[in-house]
Amino acid sequence: MRFGVVVFPGSNCDYDCFYALRDVLKQDVVFLWHGDSDLQGCDYVVLPGGFSYGDYLRAGAIARFSPIMEAIRDFVSQGGIVVGICNGFQILLESGLLRGALLPNRNGRFICRYVHLRVENANTPFTYLCTPGEVLRVPVAHYQGNFFLPQEELKRLEERGQILFRYCGPSGEVDERYNPNGSVGNVAGIASSDFRVMGMMPHPERACEELLGSTDGRKIFLSIAAWLEERAKCRLQTLRE
């Protein structure tokens, strides 16, 4: 199984993701250049955080037209798994692979701190190793992380289980006072309707080692690895039968 980390001009969490996946989680991982359209046989693609194209115009708006995004679109339609973290989430929303938009934080400031996330749906490739309602401690670092979606669409997202993480208190209470950026419904991470694409504002790659104060981020990356292995086993089983 191979992970790919996309590098856009202005990505600055690409090495963090690469390091977390290769050195901490012992996975096979390669960098993918935004100007290429070859995914090098990756099973799982990460769009890392940063400031692609300087966040000019709107965060993620220009990156969405990079050649690699066309390849990622095909990859998803063929069953590939994609995760966007922070600016990566912004790119996924701008490219239409996920629904919604990210506005500047309600308080108008850049926020950089640990938050708590409640796992709302543990039955997805991204939360496979979590339990429903589990609380993860992961940092956020963003200026435009205020997730917006019209109420009726948000309701649909909720009904289909596409809301994966919500900002919450240390014991899982979802309340406005634990909402760092003003996101509707305290939403911190969502998935596409086919659960192949996930976007989240918090940075799991910054929560993979004790030294950094939390290892909860590992679960998100390892969930996908475990889910892909499980899927491969099932396929093998079907072939044998």
């Binding site: 115009l57 709107r58 708006a61 220009i62 037209f65 929303l93 701008e94 629904r99 919604g100 938009a101 506005l103 500047p104 934080n105 309600r106 308080n107 108008g108 205020n146 917006f148 979606l149 003003g182």
Partner: protein
């Protein structure tokens, strides 16, 4: 023929505008108490070559839909004039 398109992109009504609110508060701090609301947005001046004004309008509208505005949160208006 050269044309000039002037595009203004603003947030849709109901979408919170933290920049606008901060600027309004700053105006209040400067004693402009009469200010009720401030809305921020983006302005683009686009010079382009087109056969007719209609074509220039159509091209600019497509640019707005494709890149300049995000339809989930933003709306836009534009005008097109001959450019010399």
């Amino acid at each position: 023929m050269k044309y000039c398109g002037k595009v203004v992109v603003t947030l849709k009504p109901g979408v919170f505008d933290p920049q606008g609110t901060t600027i309004r508060n700053a105006l209040h701090a400067l004693a402009y108490r009469e200010v009720e609301e401030v809305e921020t947005g983006k302005y683009f001046k686009i010079i382009l070559e087109a056969a007719t004004k209609e074509e220039a309008k159509e091209r600019i509208q497509r640019m707005c839909d494709q890149l300049l505005a995000n339809p989930v949160i933003e709306q836009y208006t534009f005008e097109v004039e001959e450019y010399r």
